[in-house]
């Protein structure tokens, strides 16, 4: 029978067979080319049209204070978009607009008009919708409504330390402060999920899926203590108001470690109401304690005196005769109050803050030694506190062509030399730290997903001998405790400190009506727990001296900080009431 069938095949059958066979061969060849030879390129093309990547935003890390309190943190939100491509179906679009408008409490007609204005692209209709609200909206399954995960930065501490903490822009990048300086660690790494999608862009269930999980941003812990920061900020704000001052800065440090416990400047930015279009924003966000230079005035006398004591040139009991004027290089330098006090010891010159005394001390020290110490105290170079925008300070030295002999004299009492408040406090801290200069730091710990780094005290150098430091601390204590009604006296505690008043420098010289009032000190004197620098710029309420304006602020702050730290009183006699419990 088979034989008979095969015999029935005509040439037409053979031709048709050949054609079919050739077709199959052609198909096979083409399949081979598509599936094997050009496999990768076709896969890529298919992936482009079929696969879609969803970005999984990384959560930005928190900024914590020294106690672990989050000064800045992020919470998850949703951004709500209208998919205009899907909204080409106008009936469904109208229904979705009504549903969305009802949910967002917006006008449905306006939403529909905006959504239907174009036929392509996504339209952002709501930014930072709370996370749980977004989940509710998602359940409504509105046509062409897309939810994209986002986050919003919160500052639970309110406007506390706004200049230091910084701010985050809409693109998630830090704009200033720690948010900017440590942006790469805080930001984390966005992840992604690649899924296959249908023609409408919806993920296909059980399709191929590749993903890279988001890496959460790191945590930055500061040395700032929010309680001390709040004390400092309130005191500074009230001081500026009380003395009608233009601006000011206060720094509180642990003098032994260099840790900055509080740092505030005014005017400042209000984190809860940041206007990025405000032309004055740059001035508001500037951390003046590290960026602005000022002439330290009489607080510099402590360093001038320390140099001479360290070199063995003077002792606290060394004396000179104050005639009320010191003549240097053809210039006459007078005391701030134009007084002439006769024979004065070093202790007395510091208590009375006599310019003639510091000139006398500096001349005994000599210019070369003086400027060596100035450099050694850290002036003229950044402290490397770890924050951007830190100024280095400036002063002339004998090697400069424009240095004159009178510069040594004026520099000795803090004029003609520009430093930052942080540099000044860091330098004076050597007195409470056995003569060692410590690098100030504001970040104590950074914890990222894969590592934890701790930052501790760093000794820069030994500037003066420990004995000199102890002597200076005692002299500074005498400045406060030895002067009746000194503004820096703090009930319950012995204080070491020094006031400073300097005229505001202007391009043509000095503004005789404007001062910078400052005070730098330690409390308690016996075992300094904190060092504080107060700087009030251009007070204009009638009082404008450091002792009148800055010293009382120190007392107010020191008292509260001692209470907060629970430091036992070192001078209980000055307290109204003390109960001792064994």
């Amino acid at each position: 029978m088979n034989q008979s069938r095969s015999n029935n095949l005509t040439w037409r059958h053979h031709v048709m067979g050949l054609i079919v066979l050739a077709s199959f061969v052609a198909i096979l060849v083409h399949l081979y080319r598509v599936q094997v030879l050009d496999h990768d390129s076709y896969m890529k093309e298919a992936a482009v049209t079929r696969q879609g990547a969803i970005t999984v935003p990384a959560s930005r890390g928190a900024i914590l204070d020294a106690t672990g309190y989050p000064l800045a943190t992020s919470v998850d939100t949703w951004d709500v978009y209208i998919d205009r491509f899907q909204w080409r179906d106008k009936v469904k679009a109208q229904e979705a607009a009504i549903g969305l408008a009802s949910f967002l409490k917006r006008d449905a007609g306006q939403l529909a008009a905006e959504g239907l204005a174009q036929t392509a692209g996504d339209l952002l209709v709501q930014r930072s919708l709370p996370y749980d609200e977004g989940l509710k909206l998602d359940k409504l399954d509105l046509w062409g409504i897309r939810l994209v995960r986002s986050s919003v930065r919160l500052y639970p501490g309110g406007d506390l330390a706004g200049q230091l903490i910084g701010y985050v822009g809409r693109d998630g990048a830090g704009l200033w402060g720690v948010e900017s300086d440590f942006d790469s660690m805080l930001r984390g790494k966005d992840g992604w999920v690649t899924t296959e999608r249908d023609a409408l862009g919806r993920p296909i269930a059980f399709s191929q899926r590749a993903e890279r999980p988001a890496v959460e941003g790191g945590e930055v812990q500061l040395t700032i203590d929010r309680f001390m920061q709040a004390i400092v900020e309130k005191s500074l704000t009230s001081a500026l108001a009380k003395y009608n001052a233009k601006s000011g800065s206060i720094i509180v440090m642990n003098p032994r470690t260099g840790a900055i416990l509080a740092m505030a400047s005014r005017p400042t930015v209000t984190l809860s109401r940041v206007d990025l279009n405000d032309p004055k924003l740059d001035a508001l966000v500037r951390d003046r304690a590290i960026t602005d230079l000022y002439e330290p005035g009489s607080t510099m006398k402590t360093l001038t005196t320390a140099m001479a004591i360290d070199k063995g040139l003077i002792t606290p009991e060394s004396s000179y005769t104050d005639t009320g004027v010191a003549k240097v290089g053809g210039y006459e330098i007078r005391n701030w109050d134009f007084s002439a006090n006769g024979p004065q010891t070093i202790r007395q010159y510091l208590q009375k803050s006599l310019n003639t005394g510091s000139v006398w001390v500096a001349q005994r020290t000599g210019a070369e030694t003086f400027y060596q110490y100035v450099k050694s105290f850290g002036f003229g170079e950044a402290t490397h506190v770890g924050l951007a925008g830190e100024a280095e300070g400036q002063y002339r030295t004998p090697s400069d062509a424009n240095w004159y002999e009178v510069d040594l004299a004026t520099n000795s009492y803090g004029q003609g030399i520009a430093v930052t408040p942080l540099q000044m406090l860091t330098a004076v801290n050597t007195f409470a730290n056995q003569g060692r200069l410590m690098r100030p730091y504001v970040v104590s710990k950074i914890v990222t997903s894969n590592q934890s780094r701790t930052f501790g005290p760093v000794e820069v150098r030994q500037v003066i001998q420990p004995q000199t430091a102890a002597t200076m601390l005692k002299l500074m204590n005498d400045v406060v405790d030895g002067v009746e009604l000194h503004g820096a006296k703090t009930p319950g505690y012995h204080v070491a400190g020094k006031t400073g008043t300097t005229l505001v420098s202007i391009p043509t010289g000095y503004d005789l009506d404007s001062t910078i009032a400052s005070f730098v000190g330690f409390v308690p004197y016996e075992d300094p727990q904190v060092s504080v620098l107060i700087k009030i710029d251009q007070p204009s309420g009638g009082l404008n001296l450091g002792g009148q304006v800055a010293a009382p602020v120190f007392s107010e702050i020191a008292s509260q900080i001692m209470d907060y730290l629970g430091t036992p009183p070192t001078n209980p006699a000055t307290l109204p009431k003390t109960v001792a419990r064994p």
Partner: protein, 178 residues
């Protein structure tokens, strides 16, 4: 046994008639004279049936095997898909819970905002600042600093996941399998 007329493709009768063919592989009938019974048993109806059953069984077994393998494949795929769905649902739930945690942490922090505490104390609770401070000296140590939230403590590094199996590497070199 009747002969079956045969025709050529062109319909011309063949010159010599061919022998009749048996259907399929049915054995040709033999006689006792041509071959001894002991050497080759005489096929019976039962033998044919047995062979037919055997063939049917084998076919059925093969089909069953294919069906079982296919079913297993389907079950496995379904199971994988269901598990994948569960994993994604759990991931989503974890994301939601993480978001809740972050929100709660921020709410806790906001509730201990110093300004808010001060306002609550002075307005809601009617507190006032003390006129006199009473200091009590005691030897109790200060409370420890609040540690970092646990989620920020670095976890122990896990051992690396096992590498790609040999058969996966083999499959990956085949076009279309990766």
């Amino acid at each position: 046994m009747a002969s079956i007329p045969h025709t050529t493709p062109r319909g011309v009768p063949r010159s010599a008639p061919t022998l009749p063919r048996t259907a399929g592989r049915e054995p040709m009938p033999t006689t006792a004279r041509s071959r001894p019974i002991a050497a080759r048993p005489v096929p019976t109806e039962w033998g044919v049936v047995r062979r037919r059953i055997s063939r049917l069984t084998m076919t059925s077994a093969a089909l069953l095997t294919v069906a079982v393998v296919g079913l297993f494949q389907v079950l496995q795929t379904t199971q994988v898909a269901a598990t994948g769905y569960q994993v994604r649902a759990l991931e989503k739930e974890q994301q939601d819970l993480d978001a809740d945690i972050r929100l709660l942490e921020s709410q806790i922090a906001a509730s201990s905002n110093l300004d808010r505490i001060h306002q609550d104390a002075t307005t809601r609770l009617g507190m006032v600042k003390p006129q006199d401070k009473v200091r009590v000296a005691q030897s109790e140590p200060a409370p420890a600093i609040v540690p970092l939230p646990r989620r920020y403590v670095p976890e122990q590094t896990h051992e690396d996941a096992p590498g790609v199996a040999w058969w996966e590497r083999v499959l990956s070199v085949i076009p279309g399998m990766h």
